[in-house]
Point group: C2
Chain length 454, copies 2
């Protein structure tokens, strides 16, 4: 599966439509926007993520000879299309909310402005990249909200949906405040911290559990986290206490222990007591096993003495809401605003901008969704004193990035800032009153004009 990226990672209809656009010489400028139509259950806000991979995709998109051959030999396409694809480069502009920005339904997070065939061709993979990281960042940030001050680590690769999902889930969760990931390749590719403990198999491969602990400690003397629940959690904790002085003599300090089954709060309390009584008050307790924001919230509520949570499957699959109702829609072609009116799926036309108003307490108060370039915010009955920067900013011009990719630490700082400004009711994990996104009159007027034109 080394070919999971590539120019053919798209829907067949993109190529078919391209053939039609080229035949009809429809190569004028089109504007597409990516947005989420509705919040999934249990979510009060979303976190924009995936822009960096999207920009890399646009910069690097080429058709290889193998791909061109497949297209030519499929019998569906003209020589003119193959020739067009042979030369293909993305030469358009992109505007976007920076990664880590919190956003709401109907607010575009990415806008692509390019000749129609180019902007069309990239639809499938752009959605694929933006959807997944936004989905996971929006899930992972809930764990961050549930566990203030705790260390959170991504353990999700094994049950993520494929390899790319595992990697991008590691990145997305790191962006919103996780400390790191167990996935080695995410560490190598993204320069993010990697964490690891030990598996039950290591313990089981030894005849004696204590010997397994000792062998593991010697294998990784600076990162010793021992797994307690293979047979009997509390008995294992007592073995740790017995082992610690022996290891100490050899210069090895046990950093932590991991609990992976049973009632985690009860085990953590008993293990904490055993460790403290044994002089190991500095040994941290890591919990894992089917954790998500709800489980973490419960453990926090009962003050379980857990220092670090390893969050796997349910975060990496966004298990309670495994997809977003997101789309990439044509908003304008050849300077004519477009609007889809399909039942239950109607969209706001035109190039849009989002302005965010903050209250006196510094918290987010409401957003205004309006047309890009429209600066009359007062007539909407809003409290803007002046026109602030829009959330959507230029990031690519004529196919080239306007700036180097931001450091992930900068994105983390933005998320921390957004969290500090999040209204109290959106910090809760339960359903809460929706945040207000006011649709400006300018946008309503354009929608009306589009409808009347037909």
């Amino acid at each position: 599966m080394t070919q999971s990226a590539g120019a053919l990672l798209t829907d067949l209809y993109q190529l078919t439509m391209l053939q039609g656009y080229l035949q009809q010489r429809m190569e004028e400028t089109a504007v597409f926007e990516f947005f989420v139509r509705q919040l999934p259950p249990h979510r009060g806000f979303l976190v924009a993520a995936g822009l960096e991979q999207s920009l890399s995709y646009l910069e690097e998109l080429r058709f290889t000879p193998w791909e061109l051959d497949w297209i030519a030999q499929s019998g569906r396409f003209s020589a003119a299309l193959v020739e067009y694809l042979t030369q293909f480069r993305f030469t358009g502009d992109v505007h976007a909310m920076p990664e880590g920005t919190f956003f709401f339904p109907d607010e575009p997070i990415v806008r692509v402005t390019a000749p129609l065939p180019q902007a069309q061709l990239v639809e499938t993979r752009l959605i694929n990249l933006l959807h997944f990281q936004t989905l996971i960042a929006s899930k992972a940030v809930r764990v961050v909200l549930a566990a203030p001050g705790k260390e959170l680590v991504d353990f999700g690769l094994r049950r993520a949906h494929g390899g790319e999902a595992g990697l991008l889930a590691a990145r997305a969760s790191y962006l919103v405040g996780f400390a790191g990931t167990a996935t080695v390749q995410a560490g190598a590719l993204f320069g993010m911290p990697v964490y690891g403990t030990v598996a039950h198999s290591f313990i089981q491969a030894h005849v004696d559990e204590l010997e397994a602990f000792e062998h593991f400690a010697l294998a990784q003397p600076n990162h010793v986290v021992l797994l307690l629940d293979t047979y009997d959690t509390e008995a294992a904790a007592r073995k740790v206490v017995a082992l610690a002085p022996r290891l100490q003599k050899r210069g090895v300090t046990i950093k932590g222990v991991r609990l992976d089954s049973g009632n985690l709060a009860d085990h953590a309390r008993r293990v904490r007591r055993i460790l403290n009584d044994g002089g190991l008050a500095d040994v941290r307790i890591v919990a894992s096993g089917n954790l998500d924001e709800y489980a973490v919230q419960e453990l926090m509520a009962v003050n379980a003495p857990i220092d670090s949570f390893a969050i796997g499957t349910r975060m990496a699959t966004s298990a309670d809401a495994p997809y977003l109702d997101c789309v990439y829609k044509l908003q304008e072609y050849a300077e004519r605003a477009c609007r889809k009116r399909s039942e239950g799926k109607a969209t706001w036309p035109g190039c849009k901008q989002v302005y965010r108003h903050y209250g006196a307490d510094g918290r987010m108060a409401y957003d205004v969704l309006t047309l890009d370039g429209e600066t009359d915010l007062k007539s909407e009955g809003t409290d803007f004193k002046s026109v602030p920067d829009g959330l959507i900013q230029p990031v690519m011009r004529e196919g080239g990035r306007l700036a180097s990719p931001p450091a992930l630490t900068d994105v983390r700082a933005r998320v921390a800032d957004e969290l500090a400004r999040l209204p109290e009711h959106l910090r809760r994990l339960q359903e809460s009153p929706p945040y207000q996104v006011r649709v400006a009159q300018a946008l309503r007027d354009l929608a009306k004009a589009c409808d009347e034109r037909r």
Copy 2:
């Protein structure tokens, strides 16, 4: 994201444990098995898939200089480990259920027998590959059950969890009976049929809907499927009727129309009538938009005149059950059977085999889970007349495949055969009484012996 595969696509602890195994010279033969502990909600059976990608991974697993450098420079690992990884080749044996086999909790679908460090290292990616395709095959087969005789097409790439998930979801759904996919690269890589229609953007980029239909038809004259719901579905159907004779004169036949919003059954009935009255009885109706087995079942129950269902997000994410409780567990090391006893997560020890008994009607009656090589099936009170072939068969020896990958059409034939032998109560989409998996006495005895040994 071209590096979403690779030897570092693993958990950090695998490398740490390897360092420990090598330090202690623990390189004797280990046996690991992959199985699902519990069925997810709404599932009565699972479909084994992902074996082919797993075997390719084992055959091709190498550490590149870039990967070895990262490991060496991480500061966590010894020169001995780096040297071991430089030479790394998987030289073990694999036994497995063929792809497409239906299976149940606690039944291993893959067994790896190899020197302990090798069998350990491959854990993360093997789970990642086996989990996802099994998850999707087990979801997609429910759509197949819900829609006998209908054409089903995968439209899931855009909201699948990353690129690899999109590709593998296309493959997994094809294995269980889907006709094909919209994902071009899945067609190119797996040789499976690709399908496409047209997007709303193509219609919207034209000022006139009828003109858009005509342009699209001319762009792909042998595969004309028109999208009706951009503005007004029934009005669009009448435009199709008006357009058809004009296209016919140019040798172009409209093959189908697609409905993507609103009440699909109502629209399908009205559109069917408009098409039939217009002499287009042969034009097929394709439905899409948030479909899954439940929605398809409802449309089938009201006899909606739909010929083809395009199934996207909810299938490609297995939305109602986005993960399986699957594991890859050490069963034996150095000829000593192993058993994990963690609360709620205890496992059956040893190398296992599964025998399936069929009733007089040819349907699956029950399975027996026993030790490999144990052929006393009668003492369990079973009805076996003789010992049949076990479901778990050798597929790789000393790191090499024992046979070429089967054609996907052969796997499809196996699934069709399994479906024909599926008990009636498991064909329903609702919860049903569990299929019986009898645990043989030999296995219970071994588990008891393992527990007593400790």
